[in-house]
Symmetry: C2
Subunit: 221 residues, 2 copies
């Protein structure tokens, strides 16, 4: 049985590897876990003893098959709970992360399989992130960042890159929730901001920061 702390380290390492590649550095883990490099070195040794990751001194870590499985199951649990919180309990998409962060550590595998069935085997969470199946596999959706669209193109909102409540609340306010249609009129060279139309509303301007944190599925104009 792994402690909650050990589970959190594995999940962080998994996510860092996903975005930055392997090997995963001590410092990057420390930054993500909001702790010190010394603590990370300590934990890495323990997880290596348990064969959840491979560790070469001074050269970072890499999850083993087993460590990877733990991480993806945590992600599965996290995302299923997020679906429960929004779809069944009526939470907003910007409220569910912290609660799911706790719920993902509940141990019963039976609970998760029943929850999955109860929710109708959802394949994406409230932020559009894919939910791994019981074997850790998930489907990858065809999506691009809004900032990658060309003027004249349109897309359907499929996910976010920044999961912060502030960003999610702003998107909600703009009507840019999952499934919303957005079409790009033109880009402003001066600041890379975009002139867009959301769901056939009035044209408006979105910053490049927003554009670089929103995923869309390109669709016909």
């Amino acid at each position: 049985m792994l402690s909650i702390t050990e589970e959190n380290y594995l999940k962080s390492i998994y996510k860092i590897a996903e975005s930055d590649g392997i090997p995963v550095s001590t410092n990057s883990v420390a930054a993500r876990m909001q702790t010190t490099a010394a603590s990370v070195t300590d934990m890495i040794k323990r997880l290596s003893d348990k064969e959840l990751l491979e560790y070469e001194k001074y050269h970072g870590v890499q999850l083993t098959e087993q460590g990877s499985r733990v991480a993806t199951q945590l992600i599965r649990k996290h995302r299923l709970w997020e679906v429960f919180l929004t779809d069944q309990l009526g939470f907003r998409w910007d409220e569910v992360h912290d609660i799911a962060e706790e719920l993902e550590h509940i141990q019963s595998p039976q609970l998760i399989e029943r929850l999955d069935r109860f929710l109708g085997h959802p394949r994406f969470d409230p932020h559009g992130d894919p939910i791994p199946d019981a074997n850790g596999h998930w489907e990858h959706r065809q999506q691009v960042l809004l900032s990658e669209l060309l003027p004249g193109q349109a897309g359907i909102v499929t996910g976010v890159n920044d999961h912060s409540p502030a960003f999610l609340q702003y998107l909600q306010q703009l009507g840019l929730t999952l499934g919303a249609r957005i079409s790009l009129q033109e880009t402003v060279a001066y600041d890379q901001s975009l002139q867009v139309v959301i769901e056939y509303g009035a044209p408006q301007n979105l910053s490049d920061k927003v554009a670089r944190n929103l995923y869309v599925h390109p669709s016909a104009e």
Copy 2:
């Protein structure tokens, strides 16, 4: 913020006080928590420093108002999750205790209020135990042990005194689930066993052990 361990101590102390009265002895806590008296003394000091209980050396402990509130809220959370697990996810009444034991430590008060609403503000859990409201109050049902019924009387099953899976499974098999009607024909002097009829079935015999662990609401014969 309290640790899961601290919360579990408070809940244990609350339950011991409920059944044995106050003050609660170090040894009784050690027995319930499956740990040693030395560990209990240790923890008691910490909880006393946090003003969750009053502690007089060698003379046991008593929860403060604040400690009591923590304990009843834990019980509230535990029982609400049990309702969720049986009513929504389809678990049997003998399967839910251990999972709820983990879920009760999830911290969000908002989550519990929404869960309560989602479940329709249930007042009793799957074992017939009352669910405290947000203020820690609950309604007490008029019930007696089956062993206290007199021959000729009947009752409706309202709860159990022994929550072990073995007992719950046996009751299920007998058809003695919540709401079932049972009527007492006669008591056997030799071993205090009972001759009963469950839901108008064939007469059968129940041990005094069963009778002392099953609550019924007396009803007309």
